[in-house]
Symmetry: C2
Subunit: 376 residues, 2 copies
Amino acid sequence: MFTYDILARQGRARAGLFHTPHGDLETPVFAPVGTQATVKTLTPAQLDELGASLVLANTYHLYLRPGDGLVAEMGGVHEFMQWPHPMLTDSGGFQVFSLSETRKIDDEGVTFKSHIDGSTHRFTPERSIQIQENLGADIIMAFDECSDPNDHAYSRTAMERTHRWAERSLQAHTRADQALFGIIQGGVEPGLRAESSRFIAGLDTPGIAIGGLSVGESKTEMYATLDLIQPLLPEDKPRYLMGVGTPEDLLEGVRRGVDIFDCVLPTRLARHNAAFSPEGRLNLMNASFAHDRRPIDAACTCYTCRTFTRAYLRHLINARELLAGTLLSIHNLHALTQLMKDVRALIRAGTLEAQLPELSKRWENNAERQPSKEAT
Amino acid sequence: MFTYDILARQGRARAGLFHTPHGDLETPVFAPVGTQATVKTLTPAQLDELGASLVLANTYHLYLRPGDGLVAEMGGVHEFMQWPHPMLTDSGGFQVFSLSETRKIDDEGVTFKSHIDGSTHRFTPERSIQIQENLGADIIMAFDECSDPNDHAYSRTAMERTHRWAERSLQAHTRADQALFGIIQGGVEPGLRAESSRFIAGLDTPGIAIGGLSVGESKTEMYATLDLIQPLLPEDKPRYLMGVGTPEDLLEGVRRGVDIFDCVLPTRLARHNAAFSPEGRLNLMNASFAHDRRPIDAACTCYTCRTFTRAYLRHLINARELLAGTLLSIHNLHALTQLMKDVRALIRAGTLEAQLPELSKRWENNAERQPSKEAT
């Protein structure tokens, strides 16, 4: 279990198969975010139809509500939300740092207040792993501390703590049917990133996560960091770039050897009336679409584009009908899952590098800079 | 077109086929309400899967937003919302009387202000028909005035105006591919109801609607009114009881010769966390469902009941996830479409009367009294 077969390579990009208890995961892959054990506004049947394979759920949110004990009692998060394919949970660390107004970090763990009712809670590496074992996702994360990328001193402290917490997470982990990934930190400082990459790569884990990116640094810094990390990682483990992202960032990530991505962007944009398209990101609230008989993207094969005009979508938005969010979520998620499917085919055919300029052009102006990684 | 074949009778109940340009409609039938050219939170694919056949859209709402001209330009309401099966529009009268804060009625028509932006508009029978021809539903309604059932003098005035407006609606109607129904009014006054039934039955229309019920009168008054109307109507036209309703009222309506029903109740209850069930109406927000592994109704075959536990639905509600409204809408609409399907089979088998006590018992306590007919 949890072996990673590389089926084809092109440059640093890889097409692979990651074997999990809930089926083989084809990579590169984009994972929709199901924060509270639901990808907002979509049924599992709709997710399946749009081509999703891996779904992420948030440990922090499910711990607070409905509680990881209840999820375990219901048979785990797959059974609870009825998602039959692979799932991933994060460690909860990122949400503690971004959502809780007050928190106290020490070397043992973090004490924080719930964003829901202000009650006090404490996460340690051991507790995070215990919660993630209760949730029961296929891929789980070591507890980590994400620093401000522009604060060098803090980035070092957080990185060192992340390394100790990774070791403790591994120690605490008992379920053989879950793949625990360590997380590389170190901000955008090359020395720290290299040190963290070597440390995390040296741990006995079936995969490696890259944290602390898409949190406020520039695109140039993010790509340079990925360039620096890639040669330091073993070839036979999947690499997961957390919280990324935009169509452009997915392509740039794949080129730099990334295998797994997740981001709230497609569903969040959908709830704000925005759709990915080859014309650039469309805001369908715009009156210019009122009489537009075209689908969002004539080349797209999603349910929304096969079925509805921009005029209808614009009407739903204008009339504040919730179906708009559902239909745009279907489209935006399909766009990214289909993009990764196309990329996998191109890597296998050995034509990714040749096609990249056209692919990048097709998806430009869809998200010049992703919104800061959200926690909900 | 628009002939009505009665396939079987049991007592006053009928099982029939109403032929429309968008297919044959099996009756008795319950129509979900798609106020703004969308049944709230559901895709047409989900509506189709749950067994809906006829969908209602509101003339008042679509006239104001996006405008009936735009809907016509997009090919009509079927094409606009991508519903391939029969559709029905109301006349707009009821919404003008219930939603507009100020309105002025005269014998020619009604002047009212939009509930959206306060702008002034005027509906006449001719205008209502013109709008409904633009929308293009299969079944359309004569412009009518719904009175307070407890105000006898007003009920007479409104009924007489409704009759003159029905004649003018018929005069104005030009599309042969739309079935225009006249509407019986008269409050709960037997003399007025009988007079209105005879008048509307005497018009050359392919169907007859019963308005002014489920608007504040008692259940006893409603059933007595249906008992009084039924023998006065021709057998060969479908009868449509507007704005009804609850599982119990559907059964009592069918027994009294009603063929078509519509109501916002199932979708409105869904958005308020309530589900029809043989245990009575469930409020799934209730903490008692937190650990409940059962579906809403073990005997129900809808997607929601085939897939999810009450515990998961309760979590979605508690976490304010919109998917809850979608999944409960699927269940509640399926419950009523399936109930009508079962009733059709019982009428054809000649066993409706024998099964009614059990059916009524199964659905009791699901809506002791429906909320007053809503306009949105």
